[in-house]
């Protein structure tokens, strides 16, 4: 297991550089390298999640053993929570790259695209694997810089404007994170997440501790586009090429935003009631404001981008509820149920949101427009796109038997059991508004009367694009199985145990 850990970063990095070198001499090699790299990573992540089984494996980079019990090297940690994220990143990444095979051939300099894609995946894999704050920062910047370049890949007016906005806010977020890391090093004199937990002790300096937590909340909140920090997301996600939108919305905001927030607030800081309430409020605000901003949109990709904010609100809300319950210490079972709902929704969102962005890309590929008012009647010409987008729309709005229903149900049950009645009510209402918004999307894009004369020569998109969409559609249905206790015990429960019991994480990594 240990030998696999460095490969998650090394393989895509090697792929990126090989693509750049070999593409000069061999035509089309970039596609095969990209495809091969992502296929390997997807297989490796599946191996990782099936063999993790609640163990925490540590890989010490360069073989630097701890001195007097103090870790001095860079640690890469693979536990179940990480394995979950690795699965999301690499499987969605693989399907996006299959989709790109035909989609991206409209653009020039394809080899740059595949190289940047591999770099972004390397960055994200590094973020979720590293057990060290500064390393998280470095990998986060690798992922962020390559995503800036990918958002601007079309180099049209909109893309450039969006990427400028994204870069300035992303740069600001990185600085806040780096500032927070500096403050932690000042007091704890270490950067290893587990060691910081041990070094900060049980009664840290209150003001200093709070400042660090707020800095991290702002920094990673900006990366995850929680509501007061969301301004860049709709622009960046709607301007990027569609497979990249799918990666950004489906994976990047989770891997570099939500994942790190959850990891540091559960495994590094002591959970305090104030911060937990703040996180829950931010989640609820994202949920409500995101969906209201989405409902008035006529550009498909902007609509989907605003829904990303809203759905991430669900994840943050339920994790926040879990934190509140853990801070009170009264009923840990409900806390783990709330966290389970959040993580389950995280996985589901990756499946259906990337599918929706791929659908939007397919529509744009054939009709050349993203405006809902200019479409109509596409169901007759593009059956696969229509069917998969129907599945995804029903999943995101929480209609049984698709996966979104089960995760939302768990979140709402947890909210009711934890006596957060208002939050449960908000979650239900937001879900209904989401349904309304997606019925509008379905109706205007696929079932409305078609515009006369314009769409005679429309047909289904090429096979690689259909393949990705159909696989994601099937995933949307079979992910419902995670709600079954036997499957949940393999996939979700060990991940939740890592979060609810930070002592185990600390002692395993420090080897106490």
């Amino acid at each position: 297991m240990n030998s696999l850990i460095p490969l998650f970063v090394a393989v895509p990095l090697a792929g990126a550089f090989l693509t750049m070198i070999l593409a000069r001499y061999l035509k089309n090699i970039n596609k095969y390298i990209g495809l091969l790299v992502m296929l390997m990573l997807a297989a490796m992540s599946l191996i990782a999640i099936t063999t993790a089984r609640g163990d925490i494996s540590v890989c010490k980079v360069g073989g630097w053993e701890p001195v007097n019990g103090i870790p001095i090297g860079i640690y890469m940690v693979l536990d179940n929570f990480t394995a979950l994220l690795l699965c999301i990143i690499n499987i969605v990444g693989f399907l996006s790259i299959v989709y790109s095979l035909t989609y991206i051939s409209r653009y020039t300099s394809e080899s740059n695209y595949y190289a940047l894609f591999c770099l972004m995946v390397a960055g994200m894999n590094g973020v979720v694997l590293s057990g060290d704050l500064f390393n998280i920062f470095v990998f986060l910047e690798i992922a962020a810089i390559s995503s800036y370049a990918l958002v601007a890949f079309g180099v049209e007016k909109e893309q450039l404007e969006a990427t400028f906005k994204y870069q300035v806010l992303g740069g600001l977020a990185s600085l806040l994170i780096l500032f927070g890391i500096g403050l932690i090093y000042w007091k704890a004199k270490t950067l290893n997440i587990a060691d910081v937990k041990a070094a900060m002790g049980s009664s840290p300096d209150k003001v200093h501790y709070m400042l660090i937590q707020l800095l991290f909340l702002c920094g990673f909140g900006l990366k995850a586009a929680v509501i007061p920090f969301h301004a860049w997301l709709p622009d960046a996600h709607s301007s990027a090429p569609s497979p990249i939108s799918a990666m950004l919305s489906g994976v990047l905001i989770k891997a570099v935003g939500i994942y790190v927030l959850i990891r540091i607030f559960f495994n590094m800081f002591l959970i305090s009631n104030e911060i937990a309430v703040l996180i829950t409020t931010l989640g609820a605000l994202s949920m409500v404001i995101g969906v209201f901003l989405a409902i008035g949109q006529w550009d498909i990709k902007r609509l989907l981008a605003y829904h990303s904010i809203s759905q991430m609100g669900y994840v943050i809300l339920s994790v926040g509820m879990g934190m509140i319950l853990l801070a009170r210490g009264t009923n840990p079972e409900i806390a783990s149920l709330a966290i389970a709902g959040g993580l389950f929704h995280l996985i589901n969102h990756a499946a259906f949101k990337s599918l929706l962005f791929l659908n939007a890309g397919a529509i744009e590929y054939r009709t050349g427009t993203r405006n809902l008012k200019e479409m109509g009647g596409l169901a007759r010409y593009m059956p696969a796109t229509s069917a998969t987008s129907f599945i995804a729309s029903m999943s995101i709005s929480g209609i049984p038997p698709f996966n979104g229903f089960f995760s939302k149900l768990i979140i709402i049950i947890a909210a009711v059991m934890g006596k957060f009645y208002l939050l449960a009510l908000i979650a239900v209402i937001v879900s209904i508004i989401t349904l309304a918004s997606f019925l509008k999307f379905q109706r205007y894009a696929f079932y409305n009367k078609e515009h006369a004369g314009e769409q005679r020569n429309l047909k289904e998109v090429p096979f690689p694009m259909v393949f990705s969409m159909v696989v994601l559609g099937i995933l949307c249905v079979i992910l419902s199985l995670v709600a079954i206790p036997q499957v949940r015990d393999i996939v979700l429960t060990p991940a939740i145990n890592v979060l609810t019991d930070p002592q185990v994480y600390t002692s395993t990594i420090l080897g106490i």
């Binding site: 470095v138 180099v155 450039l160 404007e161 969006a162 500032f179 090093y185 000042w186 709709p234």
Partner: protein, 112 residues
């Protein structure tokens, strides 16, 4: 303490610039000012009074050294900052070619 305060003021100066400037290049410069205030802070937390450069000298075993780790971190962060700034500047050049202006008020295609 004064040094830390000055460092924080530098951070705020940069933040003020990012928020109020209208020229794209000036925004990037302000972002760099902020960036360097954070680097300065990182270098400061590794400073030990009367400390020397952290190269161990076997001849004087009780010498005081400054903390080398923040210095290594600052070097890494400077390289990352360089990449970000280069990326931003290349985007600005492209924006200027498309819009023929650097004024942020006139670059507003994306709304709502």
């Amino acid at each position: 303490m004064t040094v830390y305060l000055l460092c924080f003021i530098l951070f705020l100066v940069g933040l003020y610039g990012v928020i109020t400037r209208r020229n794209l290049v000036k925004i990037v410069i302000s972002l760099s000012v902020m960036e360097f205030s954070v680097f300065l802070f990182l270098a400061l937390i590794g400073y030990v009074h009367h400390g020397e450069a952290p190269i161990v000298d076997p001849a004087s075993p009780d010498a005081i050294y400054v903390d080398p780790l923040p210095q290594a971190m600052v070097l890494t962060a400077i390289v990352i900052g360089l990449a970000t700034t280069a990326m931003l500047m290349s985007v600005i050049i492209r924006i200027y070619r498309k819009y023929r202006t650097l004024d942020i008020r006139e670059i507003n295609n994306l709304r709502g």
